[in-house]
Subunit: 206 residues, 4 copies
DNA sequence: ACTTACGGGACTTCCCGTTAAT
DNA sequence: ATTAACGGGAAGTCCCGTAAGT
C-alpha cells in the first residue's frame, strides 16, 4: 500500500467514525482532518469534494458488507448440505459475530445516507440498494431451496422473509443505540432464527 | 387554539416534513420558515434555538406515537377477550394503517435523532428511549398474558419479542426508503404477525 | 410623580446600570426591560427608539451632574469668603462624597457615549460638552478670583487647570475600574487639591 | 514578515482604527474586513472569534504602550543623572510627542475595553491592568529616587502621584474628544509637569 | 504529497421596532 | 395599555473549496 493510499484510508476511517456518530452533514471536513491528523490539501487531493468522500465511504462500507455476507454464507455451506441447516448455521454465526462488530461500529453507515438524502448525491442510494439486494439474494437462495424440501411449511412470502433479516439487523442496531443496550441486536437476531426454525418445523434453540 | 400556538404548529409541521427528508442538520431554519411561511422573528419567539426546535419536534412526535399505540391496543382489546387474539387484532390494524401512514411520513423522526446525536442536545435521547419502552410495555403485557395461557409455547424471550415489533417497524421503514418500495413495511409487519401466530400455535394468515 | 413617569424612570435606571457596565451598544432593549421588569410596549411608549433612550440617559445624567457641581460650589462658598478656601473646601467635599458615589456608580456615563460615537446620534455629544464646560466655568471662576489675589503665583494656565479636575475625575474613575481599587479616585482627587495648595502657596494637607 | 502575519496585522490595524472611533461592540467584523480589504475566511483563520480579535488588539496595544513608555524613560535617563531632571525630561518628551500621537489615534484603546466589559472576555482586563502597573512602576521609580534627595518636599503620596500621570493622560484624551480640542491633552500633561516642578521646588516652565 | 492562508457564502443567532389581541 | 406575537435584517460563526508555496 502506497503512502497516498494509506492517508486516504486514514481519512476514510476518521470520516466513518464521525459520520456514524453525528451523521454526514454534521461531520465537517475539518473535523475529519483533525481526527485523521491530516490537512486540507491532503483531503482535496484524495477527494474532489465532500460528496465524493461520502460516495467513497458508502462504497467501501458496501464492499465490506458484501464480503461479510459472503463469508457467513460460506460458513453456512461448510456446516451442512441441508439448506435449512446452512441457513441456521449462517444465522448462528451472524449472532456470534455481533458483539465484536458492536465494539467497532456503533451503527450502520447506510442509515446515515438513507436518512440524509441528497447529501452525497444520489449515487450512494444506488450503492445502498445494491447492498440490500445482495442480502436478499443470498438469503433468498437458501430459503427457496429449503422451501422446496418443505412443501408443508406455512404460506409465508419468501422474498420478504429474506429482507426481514436486514430489517431486524437495522432495527436492532437502532434500538441498541437508542436504549444503550449492546445485547439488543444479538437477541433480536435470535428471534429471526427462531422464526425460521418454526417455519421449517425445527426445534427452537435459545 | 391561539394564534401563537397555530404558528408554532405550522413551524413544527414544516420542520418535521423537512427533517424526515433530509435529516436535522441539513434542514436549515430558513427552509423551515419558507415552508411554514413564517419569519425569523416568529421562529426565535417560539424556539430559543434550533436545538429547541429539535427537542419540541421529538416530543410532539413521541406524544403522537404513544397515542397511536394506545389506539391500536384499544382496537385489539375491543376485538376479543383472548390476549392472543387481541395481539393479532392489534397487529392487523397496524398493518392496515401503514399505507395511510406512508403517505404522510416517509420515515421515522426518531431515526434522524438517533443517528444525528448531539445535535438537539441529549434530551431528545431520553424522549426517544421512553417511546421505545412504551411500545415494549404495551406489547409485552399482551405477550405475557398470552404466554400464561400457552404453557407449551416455544421458549422465546418475551421482552425482546415485544421489542422486535419496533425493530421491524424501523427496519421496514428504512428498506421502504432505500428500495423505494412502499409495500415493504406492511409485508414485513405481516411476518411479525406470522411469527406470533406460529409461537401461539395459530394458523398463519397471509 | 405619575405612574407613567415612574415607569420611565425605572427604565432609565435599569438602562444606566447596564450601560455603565457593558456600554450602550451591548445593552439590548430586552435586557433593559428585564432589569426594569417592564415590557416592549411600555418601552416604545416612552422612547421612540433606542437612540432616544440614550439621549434621555445622557440628559438626565448631565442634569444630575450639574446639580452636584452646583451643590459643591455652594458648600465651598458657605465655608469661607476667600476664593482659595472656597475652592479647597469644594474639593474636600468632593473627595468626601466619592465613596458614596462609587457605591452607586461604577463609572461615568459620559465615557460610554464619548467612546461609542454615533450610537445615540450627535445630540448627546453636545450635552456632554456642555456638562464639561459647566465644570470649567464653575472652577475657573474660583481660580480667577484666587489668582487676582495671588499675583506671585506660578505662571499656570487657569482654564486648563479648571479642566484638569474633570480629567482627573474621569481618569481616576477609569483606574478605579481597571485596577479594581475603590480608593484610587479619592486619592487622585487629593493630588488635585495638593496642586492647588502648592500653586496658591498653602500648606499641603494629606 | 510572512504573508499570514501581514494580513493579521492589517486586520488588527483596521480593527483598532474602528474600535477607537465606535467602540468594540459597534465595530462589526464585516466593517473591519472592508477596511482591511480582507475576507471572512482570512479573519476566521487568524482569530477564532471576535472576542479573540479584541484580546489580540489589547495585547498588541499594551505591548506598544509599554515600548513607548520605556523609550520615554530612556530619553529621560539620557538627559541627566538627576532623577528629577530625568522625570521632567521624560514628561517634556511626552508632551512633545502628543500632537503626533493624536494624528494617529483619536483615543486610548484601553478605555473601550474598560467600559465595555465582558465583551472580549475577562482576559483583556488583566492585560490592561498590567499596562497601568507598568506605568506606575516606571514613574514611581523616578519619584522615589527624587524624593530621597528632597527630604523637605510636601507630604504627597508617591504611588498615586505616579498613577496620576496615567489618569491625566486618559482624562485628557477624553476631553480632547468630547470638546474636539486637540490641544487639550498636551496642556493637561503640562500641568502634571508643573505639579512635579512645584513638589520638587523647581521653577515652573510653561 | 502535503501545508498554510485565504475567498466567499450560508446558517444560526440575535435584536430593533411594529402589530394584534386582551 | 399591557403583553405576546411577529417582521425583517444584520451580525457572528462556521465551513467548503481554492491557491500559493514547499
Amino acid at each position: 500500500m502506497t503512502r497516498g493510499t494509506e492517508t486516504r484510508e486514514r481519512i476514510l476511517d476518521a470520516a466513518q467514525h464521525l459520520v456514524l456518530r453525528q451523521g454526514f452533514a454534521s461531520t465537517t471536513v475539518d473535523a475529519v482532518l483533525a481526527e485523521a491528523r491530516s490537512s486540507k490539501g491532503a483531503f482535496f487531493h484524495h477527494f474532489p469534494s465532500k460528496a465524493d468522500l461520502g460516495k467513497a465511504l458508502v462504497e467501501r462500507y458496501a464492499a465490506a458488507d458484501a464480503a461479510a455476507l459472503d463469508e457467513l454464507i460460506a460458513i453456512g455451506e461448510a456446516a451442512s448440505d441441508d439448506p435449512v441447516d446452512q441457513l441456521l448455521a449462517l444465522l448462528s454465526a451472524f449472532e456470534e459475530g455481533i458483539d465484536q462488530l458492536l465494539e467497532v461500529q456503533p451503527g450502520c453507515l447506510f442509515v446515515s445516507f438513507i436518512y440524509e438524502a441528497d447529501l452525497a448525491g444520489s449515487e450512494t442510494d444506488e450503492t445502498v440498494a445494491q447492498s440490500i439486494l445482495h442480502w436478499r439474494a443470498g438469503i433468498l437462495e437458501k430459503l427457496e431451496k429449503a422451501a422446496a424440501q418443505h412443501p408443508s411449511m406455512p404460506p409465508v412470502e419468501l422474498t420478504t422473509l429474506a429482507d426481514l433479516l436486514f430489517s431486524i439487523f437495522e432495527g436492532g442496531f437502532l434500538m441498541t443505540r437508542a436504549l444503550d443496550d449492546p445485547t439488543m441486536l444479538r437477541r433480536q437476531l435470535a428471534h429471526y432464527r427462531h422464526y425460521v426454525e418454526l417455519i421449517f418445523d425445527r426445534p427452537v434453540h435459545p
